[in-house]
Symmetry: C2
Subunit: 485 residues, 2 copies
């Protein structure tokens, strides 16, 4: 069993994540988060939210908003998604199995198809006589397949075509003018949306890495094009950096910015912020790298795009994309809607630029789970499999009354109410020996386990046990919150 | 201007909520939450989450899970939604305007259409010669309109019909067997999902009260049909209770249960829990009431259903529905999928019953905003409009450095970082006089505003100012968290 297969097996059994609608045969690209996974996912969302909301006090504000996932066609015509948000598909003439053309070629020929058009892909398939993976049949013509889910909104004559958003960003852009008022007409300001997006992928794969329904946290940072971002500071450890010419560096982001490898100071700032966040989530720093998009893979309107990638057991995973989108998006809506997106600021009239920071949430969940997976032998030479989640990601704090009698459960309830007030999610477990309960807590990566025993009744202290060291210490109940945070 | 019109106007301007896609003419049933509204919404979600997760320690556990909003047709065929989740619609023969038939009749004839079939509605329209509200034209035939948004998933031969979920519940039910394992095969246990649901309403109305895309928090509480729920306790103040025969009581839920008005102890427990939650959110207790569904309006499989309603400026609003659904849902999936939903527990083999607690989230947001809206004259006889949100709902804690110099902003940053660690969302504001900043904070219902002044630099205390009383007290920075919570 490969490591990732083991992880996926455990993820199913311990309620982290598993395919949706299994009783109806499932459908690829849709996953459920179980009790443990849902808590990990919320924790990751909250870490990102906390990192961005009101971060650069004084210099700018980042607001959270929440917009619908379903939108009318106009939005996606203006943004270009109706016309261009497609992948090239090719079907087997015999068994009709559909393939994403570029993936099929890349897999077979070990080349990159970035930026290739339909004709180029068609030619590669033909010249190399690529066949159906399932039945060996001949492949048909390459054609465009829309990645948006289409539906109809409202009945009768009010009926309008709608699409599920393929990204949260557009729903932020179309409300820009109202947000500008709320931000008191001062640039820069940022808007974060954490919510679902949908892409009808031709071949979803790698479990929760490429889903058809997924969660994003996208920050649109609206800026004056003349802003040099001198108020943004960043510093950190060396990291592997691959520029758009495939040149590799092992330097800090600060050095990369100073040496002109990363040219935009805001991009450098958000890259550093993202690295810090991933480390906080428990993701292995040594397996992270920065990669600049090549000119062929970058959208034509983007001036520069950088990703943070995680080298996973499953391959290279894009964790966040940070792009200087210029004024493209707002200009598109400005032109299409005929509603002005221009603002007046710093003595000039203009459409703001946008620096976008786009996190997936499902991918970090997987990468955290993979990074924190531990297989080891315990002191009795028994295999111990657990997750080394950091406290910020740990799904719960466990609360165990030593026995189900002598008012110990009642005392545990007091501790639980105390933790809930502090926004710490408790998990109560009374069944089995304390050793068995610790083991169960370890299995789902619980960082702290609190035991209520007879001393607790006397002096209001509890035993806090650490997952990693198995060390146990006594803490006063009233100091638990401070201790845990 | 009516009060609710004033509220909606302020909600737009202050970034609480406003129609989506305004630059494209909007489409009814879709709203954006602005920076203030998104925080209020998150706070409401968190209050519900905290109230339910692991509440009845020892007796049972409630887990949070997260499932996709898009699901294959089989799910909705099994649940009956494809066949029955429809409304009756009637269109004007002249201008083609579509109407929801029952609403049109109820509005015109002031009668209830609960439980009426197509023929009955058709007859009422004909006999009373009801006409189009817009053009006075004749109305056509009443027909069924599906309230689910339909789409297609996957390309080519893999294509399957999908629907956006009209409720979170079904996505919980279909994973029941896996959840049963994770709950260590012990009844009762509960599962909460907080997420989007979608209904293609014929005529969405009342702003965020009847949306086409909305957020729910649904708890499915899986129980043994023989369970008497004797471990569930509840008590509270008298409340207006309307039973299914329209008999009205003004007694506590405990008394209503003891007198057999509310027959199911779990329903009584969740009703009390919901009342407590709504009060915590800042909703006026005097405008809440409990209402039992009449036999004609209740789904045929439901044994009993109760709502908590809020008497709003907009009319009667259902805030939560609590239903004894028997084993209907699991049995449907058991039969349709051919995958067993039976469990073995307490020496018998059976399909569990479900008590469902279904909250809308958007409705509480509106009702909280309406309940907390205050118009008054201040000491100088100026009009003061603000929101009296309780601390748990307040969008932020404001942090104001007295001046933008002498290291006061730096000190404010320390306070902000401290608050963020404590899961309290700070909002930094430096522009204008302190009085002006307090006024702006009041306008969006901020409960606490913290000022950093020269004394702060000396003794690490800050001024905390209360919105309602305008009282100001000094608090040590390290005691802020305890103080606020």
């Amino acid at each position: 069993m490969k490591k990732y297969e083991k992880i996926l097996d455990i993820a199913k059994r311990r309620g982290i994540f598993y395919p949706s609608a299994e009783i109806y045969g499932g459908i690829s690209g849709f996953y459920d988060y179980g009790p443990v996974g849902a808590r990990i996912k919320r924790n990751i969302e909250n870490l990102i939210r906390k990192a961005y909301l009101i971060d650069e006090y004084g210099n700018f504000t980042i607001f959270e908003i929440e917009c619908p996932t379903l939108g009318v066609e106009d939005i996606w015509k203006a943004s270009g998604h109706v016309q261009n948000f497609t992948d090239f598909i090719v079907e087997c003439k015999n068994c009709k199995e559909p393939y994403r053309a570029d993936h099929l070629i890349e897999e077979n020929l070990k080349i990159s198809c970035d930026g290739m058009n339909k004709e180029q892909l068609q030619e590669l398939i033909k010249n190399n006589n690529l066949r159906c993976k399932k039945c060996g049949g001949e492949l048909g013509e390459v054609y465009n397949f829309s990645l948006m889910f289409r539906t109809e909104i409202a009945p009768g004559k009010n009926k309008r075509t709608g699409y599920l958003r393929p990204e949260t960003a557009q729903s932020t852009y179309i409300g820009f003018k109202r947000l500008w008022e709320i931000a008191r007409k001062k640039l820069p300001f940022g808007v974060i949306q954490i919510g679902k997006s949908y892409r009808n992928e031709i071949s979803p794969r790698q479990y929760i890495i490429r889903l058809r329904e997924f969660t994003q946290a996208e920050i649109e940072f609206f800026v004056d094009p003349d802003d040099k971002f001198e108020y943004l500071n960043f510093d950190g450890k060396p990291i592997k950096i691959i520029d758009k010419h495939d040149k590799i560096y092992e330097i800090s982001i600060k050095e990369a910015y100073n040496e002109g490898i990363i040219k935009n100071r805001a991009i450098a700032y958000f890259l550093q912020k993202s690295l810090n966040l991933f480390v906080k989530m428990g993701i292995n720093y040594e397996r992270l790298q920065l990669r600049q998009h090549k000119d062929t893979e970058r959208a034509f309107y983007s001036k520069d795009t950088w990703d943070v990638e995680f080298m996973s057991e499953l391959g290279r995973i894009e964790m966040v994309g940070i792009a200087d989108r210029g004024s493209y998006d707002l200009t598109q809506h400005h032109n299409y809607s005929k509603e002005s997106m221009e603002i007046f600021s710093n003595n000039k009239k203009f459409i703001p630029n946008v620096i976008e920071v786009a996190y997936g949430i499902d991918r970090p969940v997987y990468c955290v789970v993979e990074s924190c997976f531990v297989e080891e032998k315990d002191e009795n030479n028994n295999e111990r499999i657990y997750f080394k989640f950091p406290p910020e990601i740990s799904p719960y704090v466990c609360v165990f009354p030593l026995m189900e009698k002598d008012k110990l459960p009642e005392k545990a309830k007091e501790v639980i109410e105390f933790l809930k007030k502090a926004e710490i999610y408790p998990f109560y477990d009374i069944s089995g020996s304390i050793g068995r309960r610790y083991a169960r807590a370890d299995e789902i990566g619980v960082y702290y386990a609190i035991t209520i025993d007879y001393d607790t009744l006397k002096d209001d202290t509890v035993t806090v046990r650490f997952r990693d060291t198995k060390e146990q210490i006594r803490v006063k109940i009233e100091e638990l919150e401070k201790f845990i945070k």
